[in-house]
Subunit: 404 residues, 4 copies
């Protein structure tokens, strides 16, 4: 494999697995490695990643550490929430939506450094490998992709640790033993899957969760909050304008404190098998409820129903890794157009796991009290309903007459 | 209008409004009136309706009082839940799903009594008139439909009360004043709308709710429950087999006690305006979560996603009153076919408004631990993923190459 | 009805029916009438309409005669063809697509003249009344709409002729007798329906057709033609750049001469019944084939399939009169975005009713000879297909294992 | 590879390519080979395949030659036509629909012979490998699949011929040179692709076609034909009841003689690239027009539009090889349910490439002359249309008022 690539950009977390990959790439390809470490709000220090990379012989100019939190929320999370995307009815796509940004930034670094390859640390059974690689190929069709987990023979924990020791890669104590599950985190969510969670009949342990208290431990008194939207995006909380990442951070705090956003599900992976995942998405779980509420006031029925019918497809595209596909972009164009009128304020009650809409208002509201009132009115002629019903019924009457 | 109809079957609740309608029909059409009162689990005594009807001169053989609870849940609620139907992402269609059954039974009584007309008490601004009448026409195309609210001049509370007094229709004290909202109830839900709720920015008062305690007043300790499904239908709770209506009754008790199932929304009516509705659906809110969970284990991905994509359309059909339409039946055929494998058990945690899935198991499970495990395995070749990704990426690579 | 409206804008063809309407409006409402006559390419002189209007007492400044052909093709026909719209699989929507433009222009004239009402000559059983009036209401919600055919008692030919004679409205000889069918025409098509065509088992008479020779009478030698597209729109024929209306005119000539574009169908009207229609759409029948062919080369698969799945909905919206609806505009936004790359040239063979694609080329082509060739190649690794197939098969294998 | 499989069932045409595969399998795996040759109406003698197989050492009991024509049309072609399936708007899926049957029969032979593997002769770039293999895996999840074209090093014509000569496999003269294109044939269609057709700007040569005369050479006089349908399936032609395969054979003759059914297109393969294909589907091209026509009379609008919206998805599933998928079966269940009423007779005019509907009638017709007539009528109240339009317009009026 030596000579196959000359410079590879690795998505590098600084953790044990991607450090092993870093060394393995150096060994196998005898090539220059560029490390890319992103702050997507996963809640970890990034400077240790720099130190580790330096220790492993990466040149300073080949170490990229970027704070992508604002871009992540503004250009990926928010567009997705404009679509009310839920995969299989419940999953908020917290992992899926981060991958396209990482792929995009890796390809930008490829361009900046003159690299010819990219590498990632996703395994060969999951969705993430697909999401990364579809992104790479869509953005740079001639890129060389290296997925070590599909190539090497280090397919067990023991072999990995042996490799690390042999190559003097530091192993923190908690990595010695088998982790009871694996996680992925960013500003939108944290996921847990595998090992201890593999039996879908077994409830997760309480001490696994890191981003939310349990509903039981949440305050006994509800928190009320108002979220303001402009053109489909949340822009302020309780009157305070906030940048996208700051706003989501604040919603995470509010949700986490009130026991909001835990989810336990069995999902269908793109690669063909089912898996069990547990997620915490405190802020996102508030946001989707609020967004639907402001839409309920400001979207025309035709717009809303069209969005609802396309949503499962849109969510599937993101889950499967097709963020950069022409059809995802096409649907997004439509969603964004429709979102132009989605502005106003939603009032929510947060209480021990519940997110309840208790009010919504908007200058663009299509709700008209005078049309809906039970009182006599002058704007709506009730007798119109007869013709409306009769013509809607006509085809069914004809079918019954003909078919019996 | 006299002579226009000779015998009319009225959907008669025994309440003030439909009693006024009863008298008005007698007056206007000088016709025989057949009253039909159904127990759909609304939680009211039906015998008073019989007495009232007799008092108003209805012949005993023209008084129909039916307990339709089992039919309601078995043939209407359960088929709808097999589809995971949610209108506009959130509404469980509690009112919508009862109307087709009432229409069906009214038409059966038309056939039994030789009547030539039906009447209902729905107003001219709402969805229910449509749902009733589409049902009537679909089942008996030549039926004469009378919708008094669209015909008479009793369009205000004062006029109604005057009419009642003039015709010696008893008015219970609480009906004297304006009700602060109107309600509709059955075994699946109770709705509140109008008047005090017409401002969508104002939170409903706590004392309005009748089927559930607030999350705040629910027990501080979670209730765990296991629901067993066969072919898409819930059939047992905690090991006890229950008939459809008994099962939903039990879920209502469980949900209501744990603060589950309240919903406050702005919805798009079929007749064209938005309205604000508040709903309590304690059992249904548990059931839909449980049903999705057992599907997550037993449905193939292709089946599940197809159902998800058709669901908004299906829910819209029911909301708009097209239960008896050929296309609703066609979609149902598909859903029922797919539901053949949806059997197994779901374990839920109910706690202060939250319904959380904590386990699911099934003899028909498509979840395979050996395929999903992080460990080395012999059933799935990780290298297959490379080809999978490359061919999925190919069209996007070609697009990028051609379009830049 | 006198006093109900003060000035009404009538869609006026100059023919007998709309002349009767004109007089009837003057009689009934004692109001000022503004006539609007449009050249949409229907192939009739418009000046006689002016003379007739003057004769009937319309003030010169109240007579609007507009050549809308370019706007019609550019802003209505072409956007619809970008969507490949076919109603019920076959109908090119020639009548449907003209109505929104007429409604738009009528409302513009309402604004210009300070009128408070509009009137049209569509009957109460058809789709056109819906298309006109949905347009009026969508563009000017407070407009007063007058649909004489639904209001008056002139519901038979005899009564109409009596009215005309009584009011000295000139009746051309060919209007004396019953027309054997009714027609609607514009630059895109001509339709025939009713009377002699009402039995769907009976073939139309050859001499009814006006825009095309029969395939039998078309030349024995094929005509080859090249159509050039830019961003989804046809812009040139055989190298000659043409404006939208000129281009469609030329395609009509080519199609008509070669026996192309006749269609005989039974369709489902929005108002609930089926009707039989016969259409001639010579140019449009060429255009849709050519457009699909250039798309086949330039659209990504994801884009093309998304368009195909939304097309029936889009066509239904136009057929039903919802051109001006928010959801039609939303879908259009998506279609137009996707059409940015739909440029190139299509070569067609026109022969006795057949439109056959015989070549297509494009600078934006996504077709790559090197990828598709049977020969050995270096760009596509055939072994990738194994993994692709295996992962696509996985869920079906698991389903078979679990279900037997 | 020796020892990897013990008995393999090969889809064997008797032609050069699959004869080479036969020998290669014997060489490589040293295993027993079972040959399976099907008559799907491709128009070739099958007995030569038996002789060749015997010559190559296949045991008589390992040679399966089956006439599958009736099963093919009844259980595959007809169900697909009930859906009006067209891939990418135009392609009748003639190749796609044969693959699932071949896969099914191969797996049956696997079961009958105790084989442990299957092999096919499809290349690594096309759709057919996917269609075969998805079928194998869906029907027998543990089957071993051998796709020689993806495995061997005989990737050019020269190498193949060398191998054949070396192994004394007879090469017919016309196979010596390069074929100008490749073909696939069955009772539904014949396809041509590759080589001479690879430039999509170049028109196919006339002498390539084998199943139809050109429109130019077709009779100068039209042929009229009546097709009778029962429950969505064609059952008789001109009054003569015919079995499925006999009926399609007759339609092929009618279509071929009248220059019907040629198609030249660029399509999107499932494996990711575009390819150019030319097809002849004479009978199928008649059948789809006739089927839509009988549906136009007998399907309710809701049914018809639901089918139209799902059709692109259904066609894509078949094109991509997912015939045996749970979701294709689910959609089929719905289509078959809806087809219960699709019975009646369609009259067609066939003339030089044109298939024109000129009449349709049915006992189940939903077309009602009395509802559609222009004359005054008593069944439809034209004033109902006003209410119908007003309520349909309401949301658009509200949107315009709020948004301006």
């Amino acid at each position: 494999m030596k000579g196959e690539v000359k410079k590879v950009v690795l998505a590098y977390s600084g953790g044990l697995d991607t450090s092993i990959i870093l060394r393995w790439l150096q060994d196998q390809y005898q090539c220059e490695v560029v490390t890319f470490t992103a702050d997507l709000g996963q809640g970890e220090e990034l400077e240790p990643a720099r130190k580790k990379a330096l220790l492993m012989g990466i040149k300073p100019e080949n170490i990229y550490i970027d704070d992508l939190r604002e871009e992540f929320v503004r250009d990926f999370v928010f567009p997705m929430f404009r679509a009310n995307a839920l995969y299989e009815g419940v999953y908020l796509l917290g992992t899926s939506i981060a991958r396209p940004l990482i792929a995009k930034r890796q390809i930008e670094i490829v361009q900046a450094t003159g690299a010819d390859a990219v590498a990632h640390g996703a395994t060969g059974k999951g969705n993430d490998q697909v999401r990364f690689e579809l992104g790479y190929y869509a953005l740079k069709p001639d890129i060389k992709v290296i997925a070590p987990w599909r190539l090497w023979d280090l397919g067990s924990r023991t072999k990995l640790l042996d490799f690390a020791e042999k190559h003097q890669i530091p192993i923190s104590k908690d990595k010695r033993g088998e982790a009871p599950y694996s996680t992925d985190a960013n500003l939108l969510h944290i996921s847990y899957e595998g090992k201890a969670l593999e039996d879908p009949w077994v409830e997760p342990f309480e001490d696994m969760f890191t981003r939310s208290v349990s509903p039981e431990k949440a305050p006994d008194k509800a928190t009320y909050v108002e979220i303001e939207f402009e053109q489909g995006n949340a822009v302020a909380i309780d009157g305070e304008k906030l940048s996208p990442a700051s706003l989501l951070t604040k919603l995470n705090a509010l949700g986490g404190a009130n026991g909001i956003g835990r989810l336990d599900l069995v999902e269908n992976r793109f690669v063909g098998m089912k898996s069990r995942g547990v997620y915490e998405t405190p802020g996102g779980s508030i946001l989707i409820v609020a967004h639907r509420a402001i839409e309920s006031l400001t979207l025309d029925r035709g717009e809303a129903h069209l969005k609802d019918e396309l949503m499962p497809r849109y969510a599937e595209l993101i889950y499967n890794g097709f963020w950069w596909s022409p059809e995802r972009k096409a649907i997004q164009t439509m969603i964004d157009e429709v979102s132009q009128n989605v502005s106003g304020t939603v009032r929510l009650k947060l209480y021990k796991g519940n997110v309840t809409v208790v009010g919504r208002k908007s200058d663009k509201s299509l709700y008209r009290h005078d049309y809906v009132t039970f009182e006599e009115d002058s704007v709506y002629n009730q007798r119109d309903a007869e013709g409306f019903i009769k013509l809607n019924a006509l085809r069914m009457r004809l079918a019954k007459m003909a078919r019996g």
